[in-house]
């Protein structure tokens, strides 16, 4: 098995040097998500700046995949509009559900492309999605986006 395909350098780098792992001073809302199988947890906080752009913070503990995913997400979406965050999330989720058969677009999901290999391991897909689902929840709670049915 190709361990390097799963744990790409970018992932290991984000795991060891997480970006954006901060506590916000005045979050509009936060969401705490847990993976009931392995106990991984992440809390994502959101706020909006004067232009309505996202300010993101998170805390968490868990495996390299879930924690690197949170770091990639925070870096990528900091300062993005809510609409952008939605389309990036949709692209990321689609890639994770592709079982490894997608051609992810680096222009859209940035370092997120490193998780393409994770999509081949069903048990790890949930790890990668954990922070993204928490962000979605936080955005809804903050009133930044309307609740909608999306793949969990």
């Amino acid at each position: 098995m190709d361990l390097n395909g799963l744990y790409q350098e970018i992932i290991l780098d984000h795991y060891k040097h997480p970006r954006g792992k901060v506590v916000l001073e005045a979050p509009l809302a936060s969401a705490h998500h847990v993976n009931p199988t392995c106990g991984d947890e992440v809390t994502v906080e959101v706020a909006a700046d004067d232009h309505g752009h996202l300010v993101i913070g998170y805390q968490g503990q868990g495996c390299s995949i879930s924690q690197a995913s949170a770091s990639v997400m925070a870096e990528l979406l900091e300062g993005a509009s809510v609409d952008e965050s939605v389309s990036v999330r949709e692209a990321f989720v689609a890639m994770m559900h592709s079982q490894g058969n997608s051609e992810p677009d680096e222009d859209v999901i940035g370092d997120g492309v490193a998780f393409a290999g994770v999509a081949k391991y069903p048990a790890r897909v949930k790890c990668a999605l954990l922070p993204w689902m928490a962000l979605q929840d936080a955005e809804i709670k903050a009133g930044l986006m309307a609740p909608k049915e999306e793949t969990r």
């Binding site: 361990l3 744990y7 392995c38 106990g39 991984d40 868990g62 495996c63």
Partner: protein, 427 residues
């Protein structure tokens, strides 16, 4: 008796001949989750479907006779395996159902008592908010959540026997925890996370001294050691078939007939009745009383083959084999720097499930590296989340052995752990 030879035993298990992750040999170290199945078990189920599949206890035709006979012979064999009488063995779908059956004995008796008192319920099962239930801090969720729900429904209080730092029951406060208001004490025999083998006899004795019903979760002990069920000192004992070479979909509740017959029905419907009127019914005695609906017949028959396989090996030999393998694994793990075993590190009163953490690595990542090398272990909280919290770990990596494992399997796990440390650059 033949000497115990895992390499020969392995040949009886078709799945152990397969390769995983690009042609690597499968090293299966996840038997505490579920065991693999020998040919004889797989074949027994197949034979049943090919020769005498029918609804049991219902038909008058030859297939139904043969199916009923096979189903009940399995019960005799399973009872014999734990030195019980066949009428004391209830088939359930898994031990989780069996534990719920027991917890519902209390909630159903309480509800029936409160509603009308008719039929009268056994006072041992009637709860008020003055009563309490005692479990331990090392229970599997299956022996914790049903009691939480029971307490939420009745107002009774849930109490836990705490653990020592080396993963043993801390019995110092046993006599105050289990008091005159205790109605049930339910304890795991061997922890699936820590590996600890508990002194259940002492705990059951204390339970009985205050008139409480004593329950033992033997999921991880009956597959791995000889158990004469009455010697556990409990009123009720549960375990699962799939962890001891049997098919998925079958578990067991053992109980003294006197106790079983005092429990109100749990799942009701066909085959568990005596007389059914439109407005009320009367019920058969145990075990039938608890076996409503069309049963897991092929699974019982597969189980029969499973206990025959284990009996032929000899449970004393199984226990000795696993004990020495556990000792070997504990020694090897002690040699890897950064590894911490969660649970007893001394190979005394401990079974073969070994949980550990590796400094700087998340258990999930350790498991993934092992998997990439063909070594199948379990990661997570192992359905014993409160036990993880007690030891301040979010989860662990666990290796667990069975009759088909040998020291080479342990060696493969050890080199995998070191490889994980190297891959993530923590050594």
């Amino acid at each position: 008796m033949n000497t115990f030879d895992p390499s020969r035993i392995k040949l009886d298990f078709p799945i152990l001949q397969r390769t995983v992750r690009d042609g690597q040999k499968l090293v299966y170290l996840d038997s505490a989750a579920t065991s693999q199945k020998p040919n004889s078990v797989i074949q027994a189920e197949r034979d049943y479907y090919e020769t005498c599949n029918a609804a049991v206890h219902r038909g008058a035709h030859q297939l139904a006779e043969e199916a009923t006979d096979a189903y009940e012979s399995a019960r005799v064999a399973i009872a014999g395996f734990v030195s019980a009488a066949p009428s004391e063995i209830v088939y359930t779908k898994n031990s989780t159902e069996a534990l719920n059956l027991v917890a519902y004995a209390f909630s159903n008796a309480t509800a029936l008592h409160r509603a009308s008192g008719n039929p009268p319920q056994d006072p041992r099962f009637i709860l008020t908010d003055e009563h309490n239930i005692v479990v331990s801090e090392m229970e599997h969720h299956a022996n914790l959540v049903p009691w939480q729900e029971l307490c939420a429904k009745t107002g009774a209080q849930l109490r836990w026997i705490p653990l020592t730092d080396d993963g043993r029951l801390d019995l110092a406060s046993l006599d105050s925890l289990i008091d005159q208001n205790t109605k049930a004490v339910s304890i795991v025999h061997q922890s699936n996370l820590l590996g600890t083998i508990n002194p259940v006899v002492a705990v059951m004795e204390r339970a009985h001294s205050v008139g409480a019903i004593g329950i033992v979760d033997a999921c991880q002990s009956i597959p791995h050691m000889p158990v004469r069920i009455r010697e556990l000192g409990a009123d009720l004992v549960v375990w699962s078939g799939h962890k001891m070479l049997g098919p998925s979909g079958i578990g067991f509740l053992w109980g003294e007939s006197e106790i079983l017959d005092s429990i109100p029905p749990f799942i009701t419907g066909g085959s568990m009745i005596e007389i059914v009127q439109l407005d009320h019914s009367t019920y058969a005695k145990a075990p039938k009383r608890f076996e409503a609906g069309t049963q897991m017949v092929s699974q019982a028959i597969g189980m029969h083959a499973a206990v025959e396989y284990l009996t032929a090996l000899g449970m004393d030999a199984v226990e000795a084999h696993e004990h020495s393998l556990t000792g070997y694994a504990l020694d090897q793990l002690a040699n890897v720097s950064g590894v911490t075993v969660i649970g007893p590190t001394e190979n005394v009163a401990r079974g073969s499930a070994i949980s550990f953490t590796v400094d700087g690595l998340h258990p999930h990542d350790v498991g993934q590296v092992l998997d990439s090398r063909g070594v199948a272990v379990r990661v997570g909280h192992h359905c014993a989340w409160p036990t993880c919290r007690r030891f301040n770990v979010p989860s662990t990596t666990r290796l667990s052995t069975y009759i088909y494992n040998d020291t080479s399997d342990i060696d493969a796990a050890i080199s995998g752990i070191v490889a994980a440390q190297e891959f993530f650059g923590v050594i």
